[in-house]
């Protein structure tokens, strides 16, 4: 049993808690313009384990940033998409991305391509 009492100190705090953690930002970003299946997400988010992917998707679902649609087929098919709230987050992630891009160029940092 998990104790879900989250202490929110201010509005900014609340906002960062929604998109914090190791994978949330990347997941929201890859879902920005396409609905993706579980396996597609798994391949897109390099390095994520099934456990963490599922866990993170559940949290995003609870916060209503991502929706989950199950197709009753064999083999199973599940699609993930941004909700309206999730989409509203994209422009701001885009800003962060532009900022990050500039920083990385200034500091000559390159992306780790496993």
């Amino acid at each position: 049993m998990k104790n879900n009492k989250e202490v929110v100190h201010c509005i900014v705090d609340y906002g960062f808690k929604r998109v914090g953690g190791k994978y949330k930002g990347r997941i929201l970003w890859v879902l920005r313009d396409s609905v993706l299946r579980y396996g597609e997400l798994k391949r897109a988010i390099v390095g994520v384990t099934p456990k963490m992917l599922t866990q993170t998707l559940r949290e995003l679902e609870v916060d209503e940033l991502v929706s989950r649609k199950v197709y009753l087929e064999v083999p199973p098919k599940v699609e993930y998409a941004l909700t309206k709230s999730g989409q509203e987050l994209i422009p701001f992630i885009e800003q962060l991305r532009i900022w990050a891009k500039n920083q990385m160029e200034q500091k000559n940092i390159t992306v780790n391509s496993l």
Copy 2:
């Protein structure tokens, strides 16, 4: 000795890593329009311990989001301020804050006032 090899999977990942952690967002936000001394920051960021405050400020310094100015006086006086890169981050935090405010209103969430 700490191993500083940070694995960056993509640009968005890099961006979130710069502002991630429990206090970075709040610190950047309170510094948005004022230069603050260590003690003032301590009072502003409710619940932070000196260890975490110092540690977080050091990380922000290394990333060059915050500058540290020491006055050689007795008693000591140290001022923290946003750098140019840090200031460039404010619009994005502001957007996130607006988004969070809407979310909290929709969900009837209130801020924890210790």
